[in-house]
Symmetry: C2
Subunit: 789 residues, 2 copies
């Protein structure tokens, strides 16, 4: 059992006094935030009128968070550390606010929250109050790049932040409630992907305070022996601190934290001097302190401190029950505020002095405002990776393979600021060209049969969409760039993370001191239309819906139909800031439609008429619109069939790359004005719109357009499983034949002689069904459906 | 290190021979499924024309899965076990198919796949072939209730299945790729919630074969010492089996598995005799065997067996490269098919005899077709929990609290077939009445301060939405009933699980032998409109979108506006089968609109005119429609304001409980016919539709209705954070004032004298903004917005 020496006294009297004073001050400010709307320094006896009208907020986790902050202040100064603090426990907001106020970062970001009594009052009154700040760490919290609302991501954010940040140390506090979530449980393994020579370090501190909202936590009920095994088994060296006597816990924690920092330095120094060849055993700390420590021990005869009852407001009837008011006053006075704050209400210099200065303060560290450190990527000219068309729309080429070449060269030109994150599918997604210049990263044993795996690799492959997404969030929030590539259906595993990161960016736009950060870029491949082989469970385009529900300020969806468009879109996304950029394109070889010059022009517009695939596109009788690679293929094939079987019909083909262009201009900054919309879609012709995903997405985007009832949207209908690609488009009714039948349905009869077309489509569909039925195991694809002009 | 005795020989010669024969047969059938379309028994030399035209499928994981199946057959017979098998590794389909074919379950479910050469051929040809079956375990696989497409859920499904199933043993094979996912990592803790006296047991087998698609797996590169600590630290007793010599591995595995089963029996027997008071140390097995074991060792000079190259098709050019064809033939003949199958192609009786019989076969165990075991819940009369209205729409009462009373009595009447699953929010969600009759379940140490926590508790609280959802899936798939209650925004954490379970049920409807299973019921509380205190990260109604994208056959969304409607809806959901039933209602005290009789009638219709809240509802000038509790409140308040400020206007209030009623009848079985739709919404009046979630949902559902441009939908727009409930509806423009302004906008001017109304609304909104600005810390709610009639 690697408990610290219980008699170690690393802190001298002055240090102990200073740390304890800081801690008491932070605790005091926590309580003040929950309760007080007046009399912030208890200069007069506490009265009901000093109490907020409604008591909201959470106390339980704060004393532990405050303790860690106080101690890290000392260590940053002692070891000249470059440190940020991530608070994983839910509702740790008031603790972080208290500490960044004490270190004065808060006042620098929010000058009206001054370092005096008036400022204290403002600090208290804004908390968990309409128009104020929430009770978890959030975007307005200086020093934080981790929103504490949805639990489970503190370690992935922390590890993402230290990748390629060799000097950075992230202190990541894991709540014992949070530790029950799947994503958190799956993120301890991040040390298998941290290279001590080039990456920084995370010091995880598991804070066991025993309870969630109402019930005990799983890990708090495990013995130290079991916890030690659990963490050692994952490659950590756990240190234990337990107690409820402040002076004792201060000495223990100081001893352990100092040892942890020294070990981290030693690991890094050894790795950077070429001495390490296997995964180091990184330190971590298990901190057991009572929930709501130093708060009321008993209220109304019921124990509070150390129980779940300390989770929120430990003594709740202070406005109506004089006894409760006394308990609160005694509690607050137990921190001896008169010792801590001077006559102006300013935190006394002799205690404030515990804090480091300037950007060494955790609330002012620029890594926690990563936009200030962001440098644009040095991007190669994407046009030089163009697919050369010998003849349009005939040869099938891999679009993502072309992107792979481009990514390879981005890696070359940006050796420390770009990474690809992917659940073991880089090759499967045809991005394998990057392995010409880097490897998969793994910091455990490498075996001779491994393919492009090394400690120095910078392709982050782990079979956890949560890790991939979270690491990339941490990487971009600290100012670097990247791409998350995954199978389309399994992107939904991180729906919630995407929503929360989108919300972070939406909110950050309204926080003036937050600088723009690189966008979070998604590449979804292995799409629903080409998972005919994997079947139903692999077919799910719902992630598009998740993105379009984010605010227009952050939501971007691109459906490049071919390689050249993909390259143009990728270049655009890698230059952008503050977006969720979703790019959807399949990995299979596919028909190529546009030259690079055409693609560039088309993508710049985001949507447009494709004259070359249309039949007399001026004043068309019908518009065939498409968004997505397979929809484009079927649409152009339908246009070709129409030219053949209904030659008099004027058919316009429209392709949409940038899905948000469909929105009315007042709903999205990419939205088309009515004039441009009419130029592309006419104002009267029926539009057969073939979409990659669920049809409802298009109806949603088009809402607000005049007469959008003439848009007939086809898309994925949850049909098909293990079958052919062509059967997929048939079953979901987006096949070229169905689109032609739709034309017959919606184009006025007088404009079209449809007899030949009708016969052709229905008889061909009948043949197809027979073919599937009879030859189900002969041919994976019906060859003659490959369109050629 | 708890390795088995390396010299133990638990299998006698005949047993070893039989097990090995079974294993070879299963391996042979695996290879046949990937490669052969003719010559299934290799009666003639293998030729190109016997090979499938396109080689798809996965070999790597199968030999390990087959080994376990063979051994479990023996143990089921030896110990008279009641066992089902869950295959977590991706693409384990051909293995499970092979084994259930060998035990003849497959032929009983699919009589055309006969136990002879013709049947073998059919078995081979259907695999990973258009119209056939996918390469992972899926709905058509007998014996499975676990779809192997999306990874990470095998343990939660397994543990859910054994809850309240004391005699059931689930052998749950965890893939080492799968083990990297967050949800899987977070599910080892399930043993903290398994009570050996009343629940069955899971035997987890972590199968380390070293590689994912292309890269090494994290756990495979951890030492046995680290793995032992990792599992011991979580409360398991791990046993290790490693090897690549079949006879040796057979003996080792037999020894370990027998010991594990004995320990499980001993744990259960002790618990059931009242001897256990703490969490038992459950056995689990770590099995290290080469990826693609017994497959080609080297192809074209490159190692295959034991590397990632064995993941899919280990030797791929068999149609064009004669050397490859020879490798395949040698490989298949190495299993000595002529020994295994008789002249008819029937698996020889002396080997088939390894299998248990009837429903003891893992492919025929009724727990894997849980609908056959399902009994309806004994439901109390929901009407007796009705909220009694003294006066309509005046008093605020907790709707979920009424549901809590109902759930309590469901627990009483169904002591073994109903459970609530919830991330530590049962009390917070006001369902605490159930604690009158049961506790939270936790099987580790209980402390005196704990509140309703016991080993015997049957409320499953764990701070993991993944565990909650997955356990409930396992529970319902084995024929029992339950409810998953969670905060609305955090339901999105399990978007993907919900999609996959929905797909399972959609698919199961087309598999004739699968019996109907109880619906998976969701209760989302703490909704976006009342997370004004928690702020932006807690506001997200996107789970509705996830549900409506499922096929109409399974998707059900209910938005009861008050307690009595909630009770009626809940009763309906608990009686239903095969649905994803989503119920959304807030937990805060809320206004109550309908008597129980009215609620019952209203919910039976799912949507209707509320005359009592309308102003001359016949031939209305405008329809105010609403779906959701807060939308209902604002809509009725708007109707009331209109009555006051524009008394001549004929206003009809429509409420929708069953969201799917909005669909055209040809899109959803709940969809309204056009006549009913016109009766409710008229055919011409403007409709101001106030919706709980994103407005696009309503546009999507209404698509296909005539002239739905007259529907003006308001809903959640991602606005607001820490503020008042009323500010939330203002910022998102669904407030009563905004709805009145919408009426002024959309109702023809001649029908309404709007001057007074306009003045009232705009001036009140101005006051509100000023109020919020000036008094942001005084009042959490603006009192006079509580509507009273």
């Amino acid at each position: 059992m690697d408990h610290p020496n219980q008699t170690a006294q690393p802190l001298d009297g002055e240090e102990l006094h200073k740390i304890d004073a800081w801690w008491r001050a932070a605790n005091y400010l926590n309580v003040g935030q929950i309760y007080l709307s007046a009399n912030p320094l208890l200069r007069e006896p506490l009265k009901v009128e000093h109490i907020k009208p409604r008591l909201l907020g959470h106390w339980g986790t704060s004393p532990g968070l405050n303790l860690i902050y106080a101690h890290m202040n000392r260590l940053i100064k002692k070891f000249d550390l470059n440190t940020i603090y991530m608070a994983g426990p839910g509702h740790g907001g008031p603790a972080l606010i208290a500490n960044v106020y004490l270190e004065r970062s808060y006042t620098e970001f929010y000058p009206d929250v001054t370092q005096d009594e008036a400022g204290l009052l403002r600090l208290f009154r804004q908390f968990s109050t309409p128009g104020g700040i929430p009770s978890h760490v959030s975007v307005p919290t200086p020093g934080s790049i981790h929103e504490g609302g949805e639990l489970g991501y503190v370690l992935v954010h922390a590890f993402g932040a230290v990748m390629d940040n060799p000097d950075l140390l992230v202190v990541a506090v894991v709540g014992d409630g949070e530790a029950e979530t799947g994503p958190l449980a799956g993120s301890w393994k991040s040390i298998d992907f941290i290279n001590a020579a080039r990456d920084g370090a995370v010091l995880p501190i598991l804070h066991l305070n025993g309870y969630k909202i109402a019930g005990p936590t799983v890990l708090a009920r495990h013995s130290d022996e079991d916890l030690q095994k659990f963490f050692e088994g994952q490659g950590y060296e756990p240190y234990f601190v337990e107690g409820d006597v402040p002076e004792v816990v201060h000495q223990l924690f100081a001893s352990v934290a100092e040892r942890a920092v020294s070990e981290i330095r030693s690991i890094q120094s050894s790795a950077r001097n070429g001495g390490a060849s296997s995964r180091p055993r990184w330190p971590m700390i298990v901190l057991r302190t009572p929930k709501g420590w130093t708060g009321p021990k008993v209220v109304d005869g019921i124990p509070i401190e150390g129980t779940f009852r300390a989770h929120q407001v430990p003594v709740s009837e202070v406005r109506t029950n004089p006894e409760h008011l006394t308990i609160l006053e005694d509690w607050m006075r137990s921190y001896r505020p008169e010792e801590l704050f001077d006559g102006n209400g300013t935190f006394r210099a002799e205690y404030a002095d515990l804090s480091p200065e300037g950007t060494s303060r955790m609330g002012s560290n620029p890594h926690a405002n990563g936009g200030t450190l962001t440098k644009p990527l040095d991007l190669p000219d994407y046009r030089s990776y163009a697919v050369q068309l010998k003849q349009r729309a005939t040869e099938r080429l891999g679009s993502t393979a072309a992107l792979g070449d481009y990514l390879r060269d981005i890696y070359i030109k940006n050796p420390h600021t770009f990474r690809l994150f992917c659940p073991d599918e880089t090759n499967s997604n045809r991005l394998g060209a990057i392995f010409e210049v880097t490897d998969r990263c793994l910091v455990s044993e490498i075996l001779p049969g491994d393919d492009h795996v090394s400690h120095n690799g910078r392709v982050m492959e782990v079979l956890s969409e949560h890790c991939c997404h979270g690491w990339l969030e941490g990487y971009t929030l600290t100012g670097r760039h990247g791409l998350f590539a995954t199978y389309e259906a399994f992107a939904m595993i991180v729906d919630s993370m995407s929503m929360q990161h989108g919300k972070w960016m939406e909110h950050a736009k309204h926080v003036p001191w937050r600088a723009d950060i690189p966008s979070l870029n998604y590449l979804l491949t292995s799409t629903c239309w080409r998972n005919d082989h994997n079947g139903f469970s692999h077919q799910g385009p719902g992630f598009i819906d998740t993105i379009i529900h984010r605010k227009p300020a952050v939501a971007r969806v691109y459906l490049p139909p071919d390689a050249n468009c993909l390259l143009s879109v990728a270049d655009h996304c890698f230059r952008s800031r503050n977006y969720l950029n979703l790019i959807v394109i399949d990995k299979q070889p596919q028909l190529q439609w546009l030259t690079m010059d055409e693609a560039r022009e088309h993508c710049a517009k985001g949507a447009g008429v494709w004259d070359v695939y249309s039949n007399e596109p001026d004043e068309p009788d019908v518009v065939l619109a498409c968004a997505g690679d397979i929809p484009t293929q079927e649409t152009i094939a339908a246009a070709w069939l129409l030219r053949k079987h209904a030659p008099g019909l004027k058919v316009r083909v429209v392709n949409i790359v940038d899905l948000m262009r469909l929105c009315p201009a007042d709903r999205h900054s990419h939205g088309m004005g009515d004039i441009e919309f009419a130029e592309i879609f006419t104002t009267t012709a029926p539009v057969i719109f073939t979409f990659h995903g669920y049809p409802g997405v298009i109806h949603d985007l088009l809402h607000g357009r005049e007469a959008h009832d003439r848009f007939h949207v086809r898309g994925y209908l949850e049909e098909g499983t293990t079958t052919t690609p062509f059967d997929m488009v048939v079953l979901n009714r987006i096949s070229r034949l169905h689109l032609c039948l739709d034309v017959l349905r919606y184009v006025p009869k007088m404009l079209i002689d449809g007899a030949d077309l009708l016969t052709y489509c229905t008889s061909t569909l009948a043949i197809h069904q027979d073919y599937i039925r009879e030859h189900f195991d002969d041919l994976p694809e019906i060859k003659d459906w490959v369109w050629s002009s």
